[in-house]
Symmetry: C2
Subunit: 405 residues, 2 copies
C-alpha cells in the first residue's frame, strides 16, 4: 500500500559505522529482529527522544548515556519495552550488559532501542542469544539489511543517502528509519539512525539533529499518536581527514547541514508513504499565519481530522470538511473571510466560501492523484508550516484492529 | 449499529410547543427533511452555538435573534448552509421570511437551523415549498416525528423526557437531538432542542442550557471534528401556572435543573450510541487531576486516539495504547509512577506499568462488552472529568468515505 515508495536507494557505507542483524525470534521464529550497530572509537552521537511522559525504558537508558562515549547501538523489534516499569529498565540494562560482555566495551557505551508491542516484558534471553550472530554480521555495507531488521508494521524498508565533496574528500550521510503507525513525533520520532563520517563538534551535532528532526520527523503524522519509543540519532564517526566541523566551518557546515536535512526528510516522508493503510501521500501547507504555532494548529487539525482523511481515501473533494477543521483549530480571532484553500493548484474555497471558479470536476481530478497537496492561506501574516500525512483507509482499521501492536 | 439505543422513549408533549414535519426533497424525494417548531407567545429561548470559526449562516442568524421574541424554529436537513458566505446568509434569512409570510409573525421571531452537507447552496425554493405542509402538521404530540425529521446519518431518532411535580403542577422537559459524525461539541452541540412548559427567567434559562450542555453535549466525542452547525436550544414556554423560576426558587429550580440535565445527558449519550459505525459505547473517566483541564486533556487524548479506538473495535485490551495516549496528552510534569488505569473494574496498569494482578483474560472479558469504561487515576489532585465516545470501525470509514456529508 506504500504511496510512491520504491525499493531502497543506494545507501552509501559510512566509514567507521557497521551494522549487523540477527534473529532472536521475538515475535516469529526466523524473523530478523535484532540489529547491532558499531561506531568507531571517537564517534559522537546526538539524539532527540520522545516527549511522551510514558517513555520506554530503553529511551531512559539512552538519554543517560548518549552524552558519553558510545560504541554500540542495540535495537530489537517485536517488543517496545514500554510501560514495563522498573523491571523494564533492568531488562534494557541487561541486554546492554550482555553485549558489553561480548565486545569488551563498557556497558555505558551501549545504547538500547526497542520497538513493538507496549507493555509486554522484554524477552531478554532471546535477545542475548542473538547478539553474537549480529556481531558476526557487522559490516559497513549492511544498511539495507538493518533497514529491514528494524521494521515492525512497515511494509517497506526506509533509507536515504547523500554524498558531497569538500577539499578533495567525500563526505557521506546515510540514514534509515522505521515507523508506520503511532506516528505523531513530538521533538523526536519513531526510530531513525543517521550516520556521517564527518567529524562534528558535539554541540553542532546536537543542533543538527534537533533542527533536522524538527523540520522533518516532527512535521509528519499518521494517526496523531505519539509513540513511547521515538528516538532519532545522528552519529558522526569522524573518519574523514577534514577538521572538526563547527558552525564556523562555512560551506562545509552548510553542506553537511543540508545533507543531514535531506536524509532526515527523505526517511521521514518514507514513513508517511508507508503509513498504515495509506493510499495517499498528503502535504498540508499552511501559509499566511501570524505565527508558526497557529500554522501548526491548523495543519494538524486538517491532518488529524478523520472526516478529511476518509474523504481523501475516497478521493472525494469534500472541501467543506477542510473549512470545518480550519475553523475548529483554535486560532484566535480567525477571520474566515480572508481564508483561501487550494487543492493542488485548484482554488476550492476563497474568502471563506466556495470559490466562484471552482467546479467539482476540478477537485475530483486532484483527489484522484496519489500525492495530494492541501494549501491553506490564512491571510494573517507571513509564517508558514508544512505537515505530511496520509488518508484513513479500511486498511488502517484492519491493521490496528487485527494486530496487537 | 447503535449501541444500547432502543426505540424512542415516551416523549411527553410540552404545553405551548408544537412540532410539524414535511418533505422538501432536499437530498431524496419524499424524505422528511423540514421541521417547523412553534413556541407559544411569551416563550423564552436560550442557545449555545458552535465555537467553530466557520460557523454556518443559520447559526449567525440564530445568534442575532435568540435574545428577542422567538415564535418558530425552522430546521432543514440535507444541507448545512455552511461555508456559503454572504449568499448563505441571505438564503437563511429568505427561508425565515417565507415562514414569516405564512404565519404573520415578524421575520426576526424565526430561528433557522440547517444540517447536512457543507458548502452547497441552500435549496431555498424546495424548503419554501414545504413550509405550509409543515405548518399544517404542527401538533404537541409530534416530538417523535420531529426527532426523525432532523436525522442525517443518524440510524435512530434520539429523544428523552422527564416530568416532575411541584405544588400540584406537572412540569415537563422533553428534548430531541441529532448527530452521528463530525461530533466534538465545543460549548455547543450538533442539533438539540429541549423544551419545557415551565416559566423561566431569561438569565436562568441561559445558565441552565450552558451548564447542562457543558456537562453532556460538551463531553461527548465521536471523531473529534467540531461541526460548523452545532446548536443546542432550551425553550421555556411558560405555560404552567407556577411563578417564574429563578435561582432563588429553591426546590423547583433544583428539580428543573436536574430534569434539563437528565434530558440533555440522555440525548447527548444517544448521539454517541448512534455514532457513525459505533460498535462500543465508551466512558472515559479521568480522576485525580490537578485541575479540570488536564483531566479533559487526558480524556480527549484517549477518546481521540485512533489506535485505542481500533483496539476497542477489535475488543483488544491493548492497555499499552492507553498509557501512550495518557503520556502524550500534554499534562505538565506527569509522574507516570502514580498512574493507575482500570478497564471496567479491572486494574490493568498500576504505577505506570502492567498491574501485577492483571491477566489478559480479565481485560478481554471487559472488552467483549458493548459498554466499556476506561478509568484513569492520575494521582495528582481531586478533579474529575468524564467523556463519552465510540470505537473506530470499518463502518466509520465506509460511511465517511462513501457518502458526502
Amino acid at each position: 500500500m506504500a504511496v510512491g515508495l520504491g525499493p531502497l536507494p543506494t545507501l552509501h557505507p559510512v566509514a567507521g559505522f557497521e551494522l549487523g542483524i540477527a534473529s532472536a525470534g521475538i515475535k516469529r521464529p526466523g524473523r530478523k529482529d535484532v540489529v547491532v550497530m558499531r561506531c568507531a572509537e571517537g564517534s559522537r552521537v546526538a539524539a532527540v527522544t520522545t516527549t511522551n511522559a510514558f517513555c520506554a525504558a530503553p529511551v531512559l537508558v539512552t538519554r543517560e548515556r548518549v552524552q558519553g562515549d558510545v560504541r554500540y547501538l542495540l535495537t530489537n523489534t517485536g517488543n517496545a519495552n514500554a510501560g514495563t516499569g522498573a523491571e523494564g529498565l533492568a531488562n534494557a540494562r541487561r541486554t546492554c550488559a550482555a553485549l558489553a560482555g561480548l565486545t569488551g566495551v563498557p556497558e555505558t557505551a551501549i545504547l538500547p532501542f526497542s520497538t513493538g508491542v507496549i507493555g509486554e516484558p522484554l524477552p531478554v534471553e532471546k535477545i542475548e542469544s542473538a547478539l553474537q550472530a549480529a556481531l558476526d554480521d557487522l559490516a559497513p555495507e549492511h544498511w539495507a539489511e538493518a533497514a529491514t531488521g528494524i521494521m515492525t508494521t512497515d511494509t517497506l524498508p526506509k533509507g536515504a543517502s547523500r554524498q558531497f565533496r569538500h577539499a578533495g574528500e567525500t563526505i557521506t550521510v546515510t540514514g534509515i528509519s522505521k515507523g508506520a503507525g503511532m506516528i505523531r513525533p513530538n521533538m523526536a520520532t519513531m526510530l531513525g539512525y543517521i550516520a556521517t563520517d564527518a567529524k562534528v563538534a558535539r554541540d553542532v551535532l546536537q543542533n543538527l539533529v534537533l533542527d533536522a528532526a524538527n523540520k522533518s520527523f516532527n512535521r509528519i503524522t499518521i494517526d496523531g499518536d505519539t509513540s513511547t519509543n521515538d528516538c532519532c540519532l545522528l552519529i558522526a564517526t569522524g573518519q574523514t581527514n577534514l577538521a572538526e566541523i563547527t558552525e564556523a566551518s562555512g560551506e562545509l557546515y552548510t553542506q553537511l547541514r543540508q545533507a543531514v536535512f535531506e536524509v532526515c526528510m527523505e526517511v521521514a516522508q518514507a514513513i508517511v508513504r508507508d503509513g498504515e493503510g495509506a493510499t495517499k501521500f498528503v502535504t498540508v501547507q499552511v501559509n499566511g499565519g501570524g505565527n508558526h504555532q497557529e500554522c501548526l494548529d491548523v495543519g494538524y487539525a486538517v491532518a488529524h481530522s478523520p472526516l478529511i482523511k476518509t474523504a481523501l481515501f475516497a478521493s472525494d473533494p469534500n472541501w467543506g470538511r477542510i473549512l470545518a477543521a480550519v475553523g475548529y483549530a483554535g486560532v484566535p480571532d480567525l477571520d474566515v473571510s480572508k481564508i483561501d484553500v487550494f487543492l493542488g493548484d485548484v482554488c476550492i474555497a476563497s474568502q471563506g466560501g466556495r470559490a466562484a471558479s471552482y467546479t467539482e470536476a476540478q477537485g475530483a481530478a486532484v483527489m484522484q492523484q496519489e500525492e495530494i497537496s492541501i494549501r491553506i492561506e490564512l491571510g494573517r501574516g507571513t509564517c508558514s508550516e508544512t505537515i505530511w500525512t496520509t488518508d484513513l483507509s479500511h486498511e488502517y482499521v484492519r491493521i490496528n484492529a487485527e494486530y496487537r501492536s
